[in-house]
Amino acid sequence: MMDAALAKLTSHSAVEAAHLQDAHWKWREKHQARSNRFDWESFAVECDGVTQGLMFLRTVGFSRESSQLNLPLAYIDLVSVAPWNRPKLTKTPKYKGVGPLLLGTALSVSVNEGLDGRLGLHSLPQSESWYRDVCKMSELGPDPAYPGNLVYFEFTPAQAQAYLNN
């Protein structure tokens, strides 16, 4: 059933198709390339001995949002949830809350590192509404410098606090 869902969805855009191919979790190489670097952190959500979600976070970045321009921020390089937890691939996701947990973790890192909750990321197309409408991040438009022209979002300190308090 999962394979059929994947096959159906790979008929959509190239970005989305490639992302679905990531369902077999080729993240180990990325982690190894960064494992000795102090400005990269990686997080995995595990349950029942299986990785349910993954995030690579960089603690060196600078804000583009006008009220926070050039102030340091944390940047989510990659965040992804296991395919069996994704509502687009299955009508009955096995675990919920993996995304908010990872985002809450990223915000915790930002605050702990003295970055006041500032956080940036490039959203995949299917996730834009979550970051814009649910998380209420500032949407800074498609980024022509980023492969795929993905839309760039940022949390200001106030927005981060609102998300954490909500």
Binding site: A18, H19, Q21, R34, P100, L101, H122
Partner: protein, 168 residues
């Protein structure tokens, strides 16, 4: 690290947030295919790159020490002003092999009133891509001999380098 989210917070999010996709960042497959596995200003470290990073970290240590002496601060006083550990300052000034947290560099930039982006680029915390900045930093360090106080010539050299950093 202190987690700012609690199980109660997460249960509330699960209850109230709609089921949306949350994926961000390039899919691994596309990153590999366009040879952009890492962001443009972070590249895999080669042996040559590691040597360069050590040189830059040494130069950064000379800069921090020079700035501390310029401002007539002891290591303890600088650590207090920047709210960082004394050990972090000592490591930065004496040990190019020490790992420096970006947060420490940001705090030092604030105390010394230098643009944080420049401090990060010359700290060895990330791989330097700005070659001109890296070269100027190494030149500055080569001319400074790190004695216990700065003479007039060293003051001038430091002033000129800070001016360059803030302009570049």
């Amino acid at each position: 690290m202190e987690m700012l989210v609690t199980p109660k917070w997460l249960r509330n999010k699960i209850k109230t947030e709609p089921d949306f996709e949350i994926e961000a960042g390039m899919p691994t497959h596309l990153l590999q295919s366009i040879d952009a596995f890492l962001p443009a200003d972070v590249v895999p470290v080669s042996a040559e790159g590691e040597e360069r990073t050590l040189q830059l970290k040494h130069a950064f240590g000379v800069l921090v020490r020079s700035l501390r002496l310029r401002d007539e601060l002891s290591v303890e006083e600088l650590a207090a002003a920047a709210t960082v550990l004394i050990e972090d300052i000592e490591c930065i000034e004496r040990d190019p092999h020490a790992e420096v947290r970006p947060r420490t560099v940001f705090k030092l930039a604030k105390v010394f009133r230098i643009e944080p982006t420049k401090m990060i680029k010359i700290s060895g915390t990330t791989i330097p891509v700005d070659e001109e900045l890296a070269c100027e930093t190494l030149k500055f360090a080569a001319k400074s001999d790190g004695v216990s106080c700065l003479n007039a010539e060293e003051q001038q050299l430091l002033g000129a380098f800070i001016q360059y950093l803030n302009k570049a």
